[in-house]
Amino acid sequence: MADVAIPRAKPQMSEDSAWTQLKHNRNWLGFWFMVPAMAFLIFFLAYPLGLGIWLSFTDTRIGRVGHFVATENYEWLWDDSIFWLSVFNTLLYTFIASALKFAIGLYLALLLNENMPFKAMLRAMVLIPFIVPTVLSALAFWWIFDSQFSIISWSLRHLGLIDQNINFLGDTTWARICVIFANIWRGVPFVAITLLAGLQTVSPSLYEAATLDGATRWQNFRFITYPLLTPIIAVVMTFSVLFTFTDFQLIWAMTRGGPVNATHLMATLSYQRAIIAGQLGEGAAISSAMIPFLLAAIMVSWFGLQRRKWQQGENND
C-alpha cells in the first residue's frame, strides 16, 4: 500500500511511464486482480454460450465447418413435433419435480427442525441422495425400474398384488413417472437442507410470542415460518428449477429419452441431435431454445428475490 501511494504523491508522477502507471494505479491494480476470474468466466461461460448461439445459426456438422444459415435451424425445429414434445416433457418434468421437491423438502426441513433423538444423524442421512454421483444413482434406479429384474415388480408379485412385471421404463406414462421420481429423490436433500438452514435462523421466541398471541401450530407456520422463509424459498426454488430444467444425466442414464421420446428433455434431445447424430447446428439451436425459459425462471426469482420491505435497513421509507 505505502510503496504504491508514495510515487503518486511525488511531482514526477506525470513522467512515469505508462507501464509504471499500469502497475501502480489503484484502478488498474483492481483490474489485475479481476483478470483471473474474468478470464475464467469468459473462456468457460461466455465463450461456450456465445459459440453455442452462433452454432445454432449455422449448419455445422461434426467434422465439417458450417455456413451461416440464419434462422433455418429454428424454422426446422418449429415444425419438428419431437422438439415440441421435448419442450412439453421438459416443462412437465420441471414443474412436477420442482413442486414435489419443494413440498417434500419443506416437510422434511420442518420435521428435521423439531427436537428428536439422533437429530444430527438424521440430518446427515438426508444428504445421502445428494452425495451419490448422479450417474450412479441413475444406474441404481435403472435396475430398480428394470422390466425383468425390478425389485418393485418382484416385491409386488410376491405380495400377490400384480401378476406380471410392470414395464416401468418401457411404458410412456410409467417412464415419465420414474424419471420424475428419480429426480425428486435426488433433488429433495438440497431443498430440505437449505430450507432447514433457513428455519434455524427464525428465533424461537417468535414462536413463543405467537403462541401467546393465540396462534395454533398451523398459524405459527402460516404467519411466522412461511413469510420469514420466503427469501430462502425463492433462492432455493430458482436453483432447483434451473437444475431440473437443464437435467441431462439422470434421463440419459435411465431412458436415453425413450420410450418413443416420452422422456426426452431439451437437453437430452440436443445432445442426441448434436453429438450422436452429428448435427451440431441443430443441437445448438435446441440448447439455445432453452435460454428464454431459463431467463423467464430467473426473472421470476429476480422479482421474487427483491428485498422485501421488512428486510430493508434503517431507512424510513
Binding site: E208, T211, D213, G214, Q311, E314
Partner: protein, 355 residues
C-alpha cells in the same frame, strides 16, 4: 385483571430440580418483580406462568382458575420478551394487531385497539414501519403495545430492559411504571437488576437457587432483609459484611475482624460470644470520634455523593457520603455505623438475628 397464585411450584429438567417449591401470592393489580442472580429460576417461573414450560408440581392459578393444564393462549396473559420477539415481516400495526387477528376480531376493532395502544405509547407515527426501522426503545414500546392491545389479565415482562442502553433503560423504567399506574393490570416482571426491582415494584420477590429468599415491598427488603443474601443483593453499593462475634458486657457490641469494636443497639438474647456477620449499608456510616478506625484506599466522587473505600480491621468496606469530605488515600478516619440501622446475621445460616 386478576390475582395470581403460585403455590409450591416445582420445576425439574430431567432429574435436575431448578425450582424447589416456590409460593408467591400476587394480588390483583399488583406490580411484582421477580429478582435474583442468573440461574435462580426467575425466568423459568415466568415461563411457567405464561404456559411456555410445564409445571412439574404445585399449582399456578390466574384469577380463580388453576391454569396448570391450560393452553398459553387461553390463559389471557401477554408477555414482553427480552429480545422483544417482534415479527420482522409485519409492520408495527400488524405486530400489535396480530393477536386480535388470530382471534378473528374485525378490522375496525383491531384498528381501534391498535390506535389506542399506539396513542398510549406514543407510537402513532410509527405504525407503518417495520421493526428493523425502529430504534431499540421504539421496539421495546412496540413489544409493550402488543401486550396492551390484548387487554390481558396479566402482563409478563422477561428482562425487557436489558437490551437497552443505560439512559434509555432508566427512561423506559419510568414509562413502564407509569403505564402500570394507568392500566392497573397485574404485572409480573423478571429482572436481575435490583435497581429496576426497587424502583418499579409494589412487591419484590428475591429468588436464589430455585427458592424464594424473601418477598415484600422494596423498602421492607431494604430495611429488614431476612438473610444475608437479600441484604447483599438489595441496595447499591452492596451492604458491607464484617465477620466477628457478639459481645454483651453491659453494653452490646460487635467484635469485628482484628478486634475492631462496632456498635450494636441491642444484642440478640443470650448471644455473648456468638459468631455472627455484621451488616452495614454504605450510606449508614458517619464520621465520628467514637467510630472504628479506618484507612482510606480509594475515593470515588460521583457528584451527588462520594463513595469511599476503606479498610476496617483489615477488611475492605465501602461508605457513601453525601457531604463533600476531603479524603485522600492513606488518610485515617473514624467510621461509625448507625447502630439503629445495623443488621446482624447468623454466620452459619445467614439468617437475620436482630429484630
Amino acid at each position: 385483571m386478576s390475582s395470581v397464585q403460585i403455590r409450591d411450584v416445582r420445576k425439574s429438567f430431567g432429574n435436575f430440580e431448578v425450582l424447589h417449591g416456590v409460593t408467591v401470592p400476587i394480588e390483583d393489580g399488583q406490580f411484582v418483580v421477580l429478582v435474583g442472580p442468573s440461574g435462580c429460576g426467575k425466568s423459568t417461573l415466568l415461563r411457567m406462568l405464561a404456559g411456555l414450560e410445564n409445571i412439574t408440581s404445585g399449582t399456578i392459578s390466574i384469577g380463580d382458575r388453576v391454569v396448570n393444564n391450560v393452553q398459553p393462549k387461553e390463559r389471557d396473559i401477554a408477555m414482553v420478551f427480552q429480545n422483544y420477539a417482534l415479527y420482522p415481516h409485519m409492520t408495527v400495526a400488524d405486530n400489535m394487531g396480530f393477536s386480535l387477528k388470530l382471534r378473528n376480531a374485525g378490522a375496525d376493532e383491531i384498528n381501534k385497539r391498535v390506535k389506542r395502544a399506539a396513542e398510549i405509547l406514543a407510537l402513532s407515527p410509527l405504525l407503518d414501519r417495520y421493526p428493523r426501522q425502529l430504534s431499540g426503545g421504539q421496539r421495546q414500546r412496540v413489544a409493550m403495545g402488543r401486550a396492551i392491545v390484548r387487554d390481558p389479565q396479566v402482563f409478563l415482562f422477561d428482562e425487557p430492559l436489558s437490551n437497552l442502553d443505560a439512559k434509555l433503560r432508566v427512561a423506559m423504567r419510568t414509562e413502564i411504571k407509569e403505564l402500570h399506574q394507568r392500566l392497573k393490570t397485574t404485572t409480573v416482571y423478571v429482572t436481575h437488576d435490583q435497581i429496576e426491582a426497587m424502583t418499579m415494584a409494589d412487591k419484590i420477590v428475591v429468588m436464589h437457587d430455585g427458592i424464594v429468599e424473601q418477598m415484600g415491598t422494596p423498602l421492607e427488603l431494604y430495611d429488614k432483609p431476612d438473610n444475608q443474601f437479600v441484604a447483599g443483593f438489595i441496595g447499591s453499593p452492596a451492604m458491607n459484611f464484617l465477620k466477628g462475634h457478639v459481645r454483651v458486657n453491659g453494653v452490646a457490641t460487635f467484635e469485628g475482624p482484628n478486634g475492631v469494636k462496632l456498635p450494636l443497639k441491642t444484642a440478640p438474647a443470650a448471644s455473648d460470644g456468638r459468631p455472627a456477620v455484621y451488616g452495614v449499608r454504605p450510606e449508614h456510616f458517619t464520621i465520628a470520634d467514637d467510630g472504628a478506625e479506618a484507612e482510606i484506599i480509594v475515593v470515588e466522587p460521583t457528584g451527588s455523593e462520594t463513595q469511599v473505600f476503606a479498610k476496617i480491621g483489615g477488611e475492605q468496606v465501602v461508605a457513601v457520603f453525601r457531604e463533600r469530605h476531603q479524603f485522600n488515600p492513606g488518610d485515617k478516619v473514624r467510621l461509625k455505623p448507625d447502630p439503629s440501622l445495623v443488621h446482624l446475621f447468623d454466620e452459619a445460616t445467614g439468617k437475620r438475628l436482630n429484630a
